[in-house]
Subunit: 340 residues, 2 copies
């Protein structure tokens, strides 16, 4: 693991790569009482040549600094941290699985370690990076997930912290997730306001594909309005689709008649479109599953059925997923994939 | 310090009282990534006879269990934990200051310690209690605080976690607090909705005293609507005032013409009442300061001035504070004060 201590006044201390093992944390440490913690998630892949690849790590470094500022933790040189992460991954490269769809998960975290019971900016912090091999989300073909359109709890609200990758956005979601599971759904689809705007799924951003009246498609995701995490996979899906439309980088399988929209979507719109047969598909986008098709949304006591296409995945999602995974694993050469 | 480990299946392990020292926490521990932490704050006093007293600890035990349930941490036997806390306080009683207004702060915490990068109910947790002597908030007489009516950030929202004493409610407030301090205010007064309803101050609940048209007083605090922490001091102020009105337990200095209201209050109401000379005083109520008078609220670019009475504290606050501190320290015998 990689550790870098920070102290007010002195700044960042010497980075150290050392064997994985427990931290000695004072019982009064800020993180243990006031939830002063942020994190990121990235994946390292081995490509066909045996090279190690990480996907758009600059985005994670940038977001982690944005998170740090929001929760009064120290910011850092993102490029320098990335070089250290590369060192760590190179050292531990025998842990990167070579099977298709497998990867090495990279978890950078930054915690407040001030030894004092007082709520304020900490005078000590610890940045650390740990690694873990992970298998594919769908080892046996895509399995669409059922989401629970949650009206009892909220994940985020205007003026809150939903747009930042802070620890505080996660533990409060466990109880709602248990409720959703009891009702037979895999995850919570977080809604906002009396209109029940779709926001995100906690571990994924959401995309809806509508069939348009002119026989084309509209690929919609809710806008970054302060309540939605700016996902790296979300941005990749949008950029990939837009670059396809401008012919900058055509994507195999994506239709030419495609509108890409960042706009609000209500549950009512999804429900009406589903009933009218105008929904092509819905999917989540995140680092863990990359693309995750949705086949059902529980909403106010009934199920809205969503088409999923052949093999559990619709046409847009499949084209996007194929292109994304190709770029991530190095099968499709692209600047997003950084060789370590 | 007191530590009690918990494991799924096995339940709570053996409590241990041992010297204060660091925890060995696995870098993947849930608390370090997903903010799975709750806490409480209590104070132990030495009375004139040398007896140790804790104030309404049953309320803290109950609230801590409510918090645990909300964030998928294990619940516990509150009475049993309280007995263990008493053992710890007895053992460390030489740390309880005897000077007026000083006390021993008691901090119980419960953290998720599962060793795995996955968001879910943890299979391991750790309950611990640490102690620290604390001085009075106002060693040299009351110093009223200026609050910043915050419209840029929110602390809580409907369906969120504001009514629970979770770590997640604290670290996100540090940045707003820094902004408030830059503008010359001591703390954020958290508002809700376009009406700017007064909620709380993060470390204190809020009370406003209005002068009524019949020459009496209305003591108002916002209702527990899911966005406000159910403070022990808040409940004590309300109960004490209500018991005074019914003559169950008259409180010296409180007027007979007093209405006690748990009702919504907007900033507009406070502003208009302040301008019309109808505000008697405002104060915060919490474990740390007990009662904290407010003399100024920054709101939408201007300052609303609040009267504070003689010696920095208004008439209702002073009577409430005198009675509360009397009961806490044992000077006024009352069942709320538990002898350890």
């Amino acid at each position: 693991m990689l550790t870098i201590p920070w102290k007010a006044g002195a700044g960042w201390g010497a980075p150290e790569i050392k064997p994985y093992g427990p931290f000695a944390l004072d019982p009064s440490s800020t993180v243990l009482h006031y939830a002063q913690t942020i994190f990121e998630g990235m994946k390292a892949y081995k490509d066909a040549n045996g090279d190690i690849r990480i996907f758009r790590p600059d985005m994670n470094m940038k977001r982690m600094n944005t998170s740090a500022r929001r929760i009064a933790l120290p910011t850092f040189d993102g490029e320098a941290l990335l070089e250290l992460i590369k060192d760590l991954v190179r050292l531990d490269q025998h842990w990167i699985p070579t099977e298709t769809g497998h990867s090495l998960y990279i978890r950078p975290s930054l915690i407040g370690t001030q030894k004092a019971i007082g709520v304020g900016p900490p005078n000590e912090a610890l940045l650390f990076v740990i690694l873990s091999p992970v298998g594919p989300y769908y080892p046996n073909g895509f399995k669409p997930v059922a989401l629970y359109g949650t009206t009892e709890y909220v994940r985020a609200s205007p003026g809150g912290t939903g747009a930042y990758k802070l620890g505080v956005n996660y533990a409060p979601g466990i109880l709602p997730q248990q409720h959703a599971a009891q009702l037979g759904y895999a995850q919570n689809l977080w809604l906002h306001g009396p209109e029940h705007y779709i926001t995100e799924v906690g571990t994924m951003n959401m995309f809806v594909v509508f069939r348009t009246d002119d026989g084309g498609y509209e690929l919609v995701t809710p806008p970054l309005d302060g309540m939605i995490l700016p996902g790296v996979t979300r941005d990749s899906v949008l950029t990939l689709a837009r670059d396809h439309l401008t012919q900058k980088t055509p994507v195999a399988g994506l239709p030419p008649k495609l509108t890409v929209s960042e706009r609000p979507v209500t549950m009512q719109e999804v429900k009406a479109a589903a009933q009218a047969g105008k929904i092509v598909e819905m999917f989540g986008a995140g680092t863990a599953a990359v693309i995750s098709p949705v086949d059902r949304i529980g909403y106010l006591g009934e199920d809205i059925l969503i088409p999923t296409g052949e093999g559990g995945m619709g046409p847009i999602a499949r084209a996007v997923w194929t292109e994304l995974v190709g770029r991530q694993t190095g099968a499709i050469p692209h600047e997003w994939s950084v060789v370590v």
